[in-house]
């Protein structure tokens, strides 16, 4: 928290003041961006978008005024205040036009930014907790070792069982899905190849096969252990992906937003 959320207070005052003036103002007709208050919101919003977008360039430079940490804090808080100012600027009037397009782009940029800020606040700690002292490298080595021993242990069983176990050692839960990356749903390996192999092995004891429990048990244990490691590694990568992916929305749409905003301002002054 930079200097007791100094910019948080600035943003709060800005938002409260904007809402206050909106409530006491009675423009003729419906509230809209063309009244004096509407122009004021528009000008403040335009300035904020320009300044917030400038942060993207500023953060890549060394030096300059003030610590980058302060800029970052202001970027987040004033970005949230922007959605208040811009919404009041619209007067809650939305249509299929370039004006609403600019608003929607802005809203997506801000929401993605809030998500990004959340990931940077929460995820480093969650990643540390997930790894529980190990690193991705040691987890990989552990996984490779488990796979090797699974394959070795599988040699005792018939071709079909062995093939299932080998398939299970190649089960990493498949591709990342949208649900997993953005909604945090972990994959369930028990429903995949790993589950199939374990079920087959269970049948080997007293079922179709005549294997001894002592032969099956270590293999099942290893498969289960490796599934746990895979889920952990996957989660680690999911956190990394989330910390990177929001920016793939935030940055390109900021550029599109600045363009739509320029067209919006041009259009409303072209047809005054």
């Amino acid at each position: 928290m930079w200097k007791d959320a100094y910019y948080g207070k600035v943003a709060l005052i800005l938002s409260v003041a904007a809402i206050f003036f909106y409530l006491i103002d009675h423009p003729s007709g419906v509230p809209n961006g063309g009244s004096w208050l509407g122009y004021t919101y528009g000008t403040v919003g335009f300035g904020l978008i320009g300044w917030l977008a400038w942060f993207g360039i500023r953060r890549r430079r060394y030096g300059g005024q003030g610590p980058l940490e302060g800029w970052m804090s202001a970027h987040v808080y004033l970005g949230i205040a922007l959605i208040v100012v811009a919404t009041l600027h619209t007067g809650f009037r939305f249509h299929w036009n370039v004006h609403t397009l600019a608003y929607v782009l802005m809203a997506i940029v801000i929401v993605s930014g809030i998500f990004g800020a959340y990931t940077f606040l929460r995820y480093p700690a969650m990643m540390t907790a997930n790894r529980a002292g190990s690193t991705l490298k040691t987890m990989s080595a552990e996984l490779a070792g488990l796979d090797q021993s699974c394959r070795d242990l599988a040699l005792t069983f018939d071709d079909e069982t062995a093939a299932l176990v080998v398939a299970a050692t190649q089960d990493f839960g498949g591709r990342f899905t949208f649900r997993e990356i953005f909604l945090g749903r972990s994959v369930n390996l028990v429903e995949g190849a790993t589950g199939g192999a374990i079920a087959r092995l269970r049948d080997q004891v007293g079922g179709v096969g005549n294997a001894q429990p002592a032969e099956v048990l270590p293999l099942v244990q290893n498969l289960t252990k490796r599934a746990t490691v895979v889920v952990k590694m996957r989660r680690d990568w999911r956190y990394r992906a989330q910390m990177l992916l929001w920016r793939a929305i935030h940055v390109p749409l900021t550029i599109a937003l600045v363009l739509a905003l320029t067209i919006h301002v041009f259009a409303v002054f072209y047809y005054r």
Binding site: A144, W237, L245, P252, F266, Y270
Partner: protein
Amino acid sequence: MSTLLRFIPRVGASIDPRQDRLVAEPEITVGRAPDCSLQLKRDGLRYHHAVLREDRADIVVEALPGATLKKGTAEVARARLSIGDSVRIGPFIFTAVAPDETSGADHVVTITAAEESAFDEVAQAKSYMGRFEVSLPNIRLFAFVTSVLVFVLFFIVPLIFGPLKPGDSWTTKVGRAEASLEVHTGLFHSARLWNVGEISGAHKAFGTNCASCHESPFVPVRSSSCLSCHQSIGQHADPRLAPSADLNNERCESCHHEHKGTTLATKDDQSDCVGCHSALKSVMPATKLRDVSDFGSDHPEFSPSLVQDASAHTMARFPLDDKNAVDNSHLKFTHMTHLKLDKVKKAGAEKGSTCATCHEEAPGGMVFKPVRYDKNCADCHQLQFEPKHPEWRLPHGHPEDVANRLRGYYSEAALRNEIFPAPRSDIFVKPGADLPPPPPTGAEMVSAQTANAMMSSIARSACGECHVTAPPEPGADPSEWKVLPVYVPDRFLPKAQFRHDKHTTMTCQGCHAAETSDGGVAALLPGIETCKGCHAGESGAAQRIASRCVSCHVFHNPDHPIAGLRAAAATESAK
């Protein structure tokens, strides 16, 4: 058959005799299964993989179902091994070699591991590191594509295909009329992409053509655009008396805002009104209007406009409580008499008269239809004039018609030899006095009776019951009694736009004291306190409707057309 299986750990390694195995079976099965005569637990080997059989001096290797063998690079199901031949079974190379004395077997087969363990743990661990790598989308490409889309769809397309340029035809009046109704939708209705909001219903007809109103880029909409259609719109006040209210100095757009929804947004807060009207004398010394700042707290009592000259329809305003108010509508009528329900009844009607017996709402709903004699009065006021012959009635209308009807009646009476004795002041004639002349007969009787009846009908009974009449000039013919012209306006508070149809939740008597009104319009009209029973000022009040100046009053006064703006619009259209 006996076969010596000789294991060599890897290619090129020396033979370790301790690992030799002598198998004395006709068939040797190779596989991972415990029932194989040669059980080898190695990855790549099937549970039951192959079988080796003696065939004269050679050994034949056959793959078991599901397995394959490799001879050289070719996959085969069966291979014959002569001395020196090799076949690959899973990860092992089986080679037939010449038996020597020490072997003590018919055949010798060396078994060599083809390669190191197929599963490389270290390499595998390395590959796992990047196993879950999420490939990031190309941010620069995404930014470029979205920006180009926004720019092309929302700037280039409306700029080229939307009706952005003011039409050339706009400079002439005819061209303007045509252009204003021309529908420009453009490609993909691209004008809509820049449209800030819905155009009001009345303007939608030409709203898709931006240039109908936006004549020049970056220039606010000119009033002349509005006035090219709204030519008769009025000033607010006479600009000679109130120069500060001259609308020639104002833009229409300062009060009327387009693109705000289906109705044109109009400035209707009263701050601008009160700015002048709270102290009107300071800006308009000649005014007769009283000051007002809010309907609820500071609005003068109403002053109804009463008829001064019924023929010229001139009106004058009087305070509502003015006992000396002059009303020259020339009608004798009291609501009190007519609303005595048990007494006043239409012929054949069960119920007595109500308001609706005579008053019918006019189309439009603002006022009522005029009350007409033939429709609303004639049932009761039948204009009979002769008790002996009630079937004879006077016509309602001009005195000449009345005289003609009377003349007709008495002519008929003369033909019947009826005699109408002159009215007498005494019954008995004093002895010695002259006898009164005998009643006239014939033509003499007709004209005498007609004149007599004209006097009585017009002055008293028939016409005079409702109409104000004027006696003839001294010395003039008595038949020249006049019914004075009647004028009853449809509104008595014309400065306000009171709508009866908006007040149908009220009863008539809720505002109009008709049952106690014994004459005079002023007594019948509600005062401001009656309105305040439901209406409060602009800021409203509990259980009261917030009412602004424009809730009742109209801003543009048609008596004072915006001459200057009209002239400007005319000059514009003449170009």
